[in-house]
Amino acid sequence: MKQETMDTLLSVHELSVARGGLSILCDVSFDLFPGQALVLRGRNGIGKTTLLRCLAGLQPVLNGTIDVGADAIAYASHADGIKSMLSVAENLRFWAQVFGTTDIETALVAFDLVALRDRMAGTLSAGQKRRLSLARLVVSGRPIWALDEPTVSLDQASCLLFAQAVQTHLDAAGAAIIATHIDLGVNGQVLQLDPYAATSNTGVPSGFDEAFL
C-alpha cells in the first residue's frame, strides 16, 4: 500500500460510524485511488449502508476523518429514486441538469435503455428500474461512485452490463466503492468489514458524554 504518492480520491482514516446512537464500525481506514474499485463485504447489519451514507455525507461520523473533494461522490442507495410518472429519458435528463451535465445518451446506451427511453418509469420492471437508477451515476459525472447493493433485482445480463459500466468508469480514472455480496468481475480490492465490528468495549468515546454511550 505504498501508493501515497498518487492522488487519492478518497481517504478514510480511523472512521467509526454509529447507527441508532450505537457505534457499529470502528477504526476503518482505507484509501481509494483513481481507477480502483473497492468492494465492501460483511454480514448483514455490519454497517455497510451506514458507512456508505457517512461517505455520502448524509450521516455524521462518530470519529475519524473522511478526506474527499467537494461534490466528488455519487451515491446510489437501496431505493431507486425514480419518478414513476416521468419517462425514462425525463428522469435521466432531470438528474443530468441537476448535476450540470447534458449527455444522457451514453448512459442510455451503457445500460441498454435506448429502447425504453419514452416509457413511463412506472411501467418498468424492477430490474429495468434498477438499470435506470444506475444510469443516473453515469450522467452525474462524479468521480466516485458509492453503491449500496447495486445488483439487487438485476439479471445476469444486466449484471454484466453493470460491471462493464463500472469498468468504463474506472478506466476513465474514476473510482467506485461498492457494497455487494456477489462477484462482479471488476478488478478491485475487497474490504472485509467483519473485523471492524464494534464490540461493547470499543468505540466508546471516553470523555464528556460518557454516560450516554
Binding site: 441508532g20 446512537g21 461493547s200 464528556f208 454516560a211
Partner: protein, 256 residues
Amino acid sequence: MLEQKQKESTKKPMSIWEYANPTKFLRLSARLLPVLWICAATFIVGGLIWGFFFTPDDYRQGSTVKIIYLHVPSALMAINAWFMMLVSSLVWVVRRHHVSALAAKAAAPVGLVMTLIALLTGAIWGQPMWGTWWAWDPRLTSFLVLFLFYVGYIALWQAVDDSDAAADLTSILCLVGSVFAVLSRYAVNFWNQGLHQGASLSLDKEKNVADVFAYPLYMCMAGFILLFLALVFYRTGTEIRLRRIAALIARERRVI
C-alpha cells in the same frame, strides 16, 4: 510552566459548561434538589397562606382577587419555561451538550402545566369579574397559542425514536416557534384592539396592586420559580437516567 499550570487551575473550575457533563450534573442536582424542594414549599405555602388569609378583600372584587396568587406566578413561569427551553435549545444547537437538550425536554411538560394553570385560574377569575369564563382577550389568546406550541413541541419529542435527532428537531422547532410565538403575541394584540376599541377587558392589574397584596404575590412568584427549578432539575435527572438505561440496554444487546 508555572504560568500554564495556574491558567489551567483557574480556568477549570470557572467554566459552567462543566455541569453539562451528565455525571457532574447529577451530582450537583442531588445536592441542590433537597434545598430547592424545601425552599419552594416554604415560599409557596407561606405566600399562599399570607395571601389567602392575611390580606384584606379588594373593595371592588371581594375575595375573588386572591386567585391572583396562583394566576400570576403560573403565568410568569409559563412564559419563562418557554424562554428557558429556547436558551437550552440554543445551547444544544451550538455546543451539543446532551444535558441541555434533555433539560429542554424536561421543562416542556412543566411549562405546559403552568400554562394550563394560568388558563384555568384565569377562567375561574374571569367568571365573577367579567361574567364570562372566556374572552378573546389578547393575553388569554396568547396563552392559548402558547399552549398549542407546548403541545406540538412535546408531541414532536414523543414522535421521534432517535434521541439525538429528536433533540435536533425539537430545538429547531423551539427556535422557529419562538419567533412565531412573538409574532402571534403582536398579532393577537393588534387583532383584538381591532375588535374592541380600547380593550375594556384588560388583565393589567399588577401595575396598581397595592403593597399589601404585592408582598405575598412576590413570595408566591419566588416559590413558583423555585418549584420550576426543582421540577426541571428532577425531571432532567430522570431523563439522563433514562438515556443511560437505553444506552446500556443497547450495548448489552450487541454483545452476542
